[in-house]
């Protein structure tokens, strides 16, 4: 990833614990290397994020996930990269949608108990980052570190 590129971190349902810590970690990592980061999520996911980072040290810009989709379709916003977090069929469906409507390079961040099986269902063009991680974020963090230096 080149410096100054924009990145969308698109969260799925926040029920799997590793998601929030990896989103904060990746946002910080990308921002420190000069990227313009936006995090999209459901109302609940964004509340979790704002409670975790009240002074916006790690995430400065957020957007509702459906508003984000609408704005991309309406060509009001777009991104150079999209890290789509997914641990369910719905997450894959949202990521496939962004892949179709956006010019962003897609990175499919796939985690949870059934990460490998879910990864097999991802057939849109993307770089897959897959780790069977639920409570322990380290396997996913290590995979992220290999992709985002």
């Amino acid at each position: 990833m080149a410096e100054n590129e924009s990145a969308l971190l698109m969260m799925g349902c926040p029920e799997v614990p590793v998601q929030m810590s990896i989103v904060l970690y990746l946002s910080n990592k990308l921002a420190k290397s000069g990227h313009d980061v936006t995090v999209a999520g459901t109302d609940a996911a964004l509340k979790l994020l704002k409670i975790s980072d009240p002074e916006e040290h790690y995430v400065t810009r957020t957007i509702d996930i459906d508003r984000c989709i609408a704005d991309i379709v309406e060509k009001k916003i777009d991104f150079d990269h999209c890290f789509a977090f997914m641990h369910s069929d719905a997450g894959v469906t949202y990521a496939a949608t962004v892949s179709a409507i956006s010019h962003a390079k897609m990175h499919a961040v796939i985690f949870g108990k059934n990460a490998e099986e879910l990864a097999d269902t991802v057939d849109f063009p993307s770089e897959k980052i897959v780790a069977k991680a639920v409570h322990n974020p380290m396997p996913l963090k290590n995979k992220i570190d290999r992709v985002v230096s």
Binding site: A44, V92, A96, I101, F124, P125
Partner: protein, 121 residues
């Protein structure tokens, strides 16, 4: 919350996978049309989905997939002659474009059969 949740709707399937929802629409609708992700219906709902996204017509109902990140995919139906007519008109335009330009390749371009087809555009 999208406007569709505030309208009078019917749910045919709840909390299923997108593939199952698509197959249900294809099997049970009187008419089936395919749209791209982001196709806008009603006031502010942009269709979320893995191409090809099926939308059905059943009587006066528009039948479509509605995806929520924490709850999966729903098959939802809302009576709307206006949306149905818009969908039919869109299909007619696609067919007209195919007839005008001619050729099998044009027909394929008018209606992507898979995500890979769409990606190649």
């Amino acid at each position: 919350m999208s406007c569709v949740e505030q309208m009078k709707y019917k749910l045919y399937l709840e909390r299923t996978s997108f593939r199952e929802a698509r197959e249900y629409i294809e099997k049970t609708s009187d008419e089936v049309y395919y749209v791209d992700p982001g196709y806008k219906i009603f006031k502010d709902y942009y269709i979320i989905g893995v191409p090809p996204i099926a939308m059905g017509v059943k009587g006066k109902e528009l039948v479509f997939t509605y995806v929520k990140p924490c709850h999966g995919t729903f098959v939802m139906a809302i009576e709307s002659e206006e949306e149905i007519e818009r969908l039919r008109a869109r299909e007619m335009e696609k067919v007209k474009a195919t007839l005008t330009k001619g050729g099998r390749s044009q027909a394929a371009a008018a209606a992507p059969a898979s995500f890979q087809d769409m990606w190649k555009r």
